[in-house]
Symmetry: C2
Subunit: 256 residues, 2 copies
């Protein structure tokens, strides 16, 4: 059997601890090629770079592990890697492990998930992984065995090709994690407040802060809540954002 080829990327940059943990998780499954951003690219969503050129450099090459750093966004990493790094289609794309959770509406802002979504467009089974701990020195130990269980399940029973998975790990020791729960995307919003400050030249500037507002705190089948309860939350996402129910209703109502 041909060894599996695994594409790893992230949005925290190629030096992030979460990336090392993901490499450790994935190594038993095949050869790893990392193409990850040079610098942190959090909150970059599916942004891509077309107006300026980007760079790509090989950082490391050893047996079964090659690491490239790319000067663009997470989506740029995927597109450039598929165009110039991979000679054959990778068997998996894993993105993360993000330093910080990506539940609920984070799916639209997250660079981790932007990269996983992009993998889907290349028909690569893609999974975004995130740990509910924003610290640069977060402890990813418990993610590894749980991540492997999920990869094993995906290998045994693959998910649909239009789908990518969003996996969020709780910040708990291994023994305190309650299990894995298949979830839907929680409804909620990030409510940003901008702190207004004045610079040394007397000009205003604004700095984003924010907190998550959960619109459905009781729903156990929603990822945000499953994570809070101590489960690893897994959501199958797709890229068809059509609101079909509303489409039907508007077709009956609107006459142009």
């Amino acid at each position: 059997m041909q060894k599996k080829l695994i594409f790893i990327t992230n949005d925290d940059g190629y030096r992030a601890g979460g990336l090392d943990a993901l490499v450790e998780m994935a190594r038993p499954y095949g050869d790893i090629v990392v193409v990850a951003p040079e610098e942190a690219q959090s909150g970059m969503s599916s942004a891509m770079t077309s107006k300026v050129p980007i760079r790509l450099r090989k950082v490391e090459e050893s047996d079964g592990l090659t690491i490239y750093a790319c000067g663009g966004t997470p989506v740029d990493c995927v597109k450039l890697a598929m165009s110039h790094v991979f000679k054959r289609k990778p068997d998996f794309l894993f993105s993360g492990i993000n330093h910080g959770n990506n539940t609920s509406v984070a799916v639209i802002y997250s660079g981790t998930l932007g990269a996983a979504a992009e993998g889907t467009l290349y028909n690569i089974p893609s999974i975004g992984f995130s740990l509910n701990d924003y610290s640069p020195t977060a402890d990813f130990t418990a993610c590894i065995p749980y991540g492997k269980r999920i990869i094993d399940m995906v290998q045994a029973f693959p998910f649909d090709e239009n789908t990518f998975l969003n996996v969020n790990f709780p910040r708990l020791p291994y023994r305190e994690i309650k299990g894995v729960r298949l979830c839907r995307q929680n409804r909620g919003v990030w409510m940003e407040e901008f702190e207004k400050r004045v610079d040394p030249h007397g000009q205003d500037y604004y700095w984003m802060t924010g907190s998550f507002l959960n619109h459905e705190k009781e729903a156990g089948d929603a990822d945000e809540n499953a994570l809070a309860e101590g489960y690893v939350a897994v959501v199958p996402h797709h890229l068809d954002m059509t609101n079909y129910k509303e489409l039907e209703r508007l077709r009956e109502t609107w006459k142009f």
Copy 2:
């Protein structure tokens, strides 16, 4: 009756011709406040800026029209405006008119639609408008009467609060446009190719080019095709990206 308050933004920057056209389209409906990026922010998706501060400056204020330029992304424009510009919730958010179409999978990359999606999270009825013409000097004349018909329809029969609209205008004279068609998101991908070049110092760099690959050219109910046929294509989108069908299937298949 209180005059309507209309929030206009875009991703091509506050000086774009498409923004002027959108202001012209919207003025009969109420007072306009523009908060748009200082510079072009195409392909910025739902990216947001949290690691560096951003600026906001008033460019123009006249009767019924106030224009601000914001140093961030389209989503930053929405968040900062809602936090520091608007004293009450706007009645509408209109984003665009984008120079270039935003059909199919463009919904995940487009800054125009990133801003419209963000408006939805503030419970503002939000519409992204795009013209199928990338030229900086594109002619938006025919968009205005068609855009007004859509706004009239939305006022008479509002769409659901979890929904935002994606409106794409064909590049045709008014008389050649066939009408307005309610559509779903077309399945397709942007296939990027990176041109590899060598800089004056002998180092490689990569420049993105790309073309759209339509996975379903025959589907008349898909936005890409309706637009190609000469219709104004209107898609109701929502932000719940859960693949419910796959969630059900995986719940029956996967046992952890």
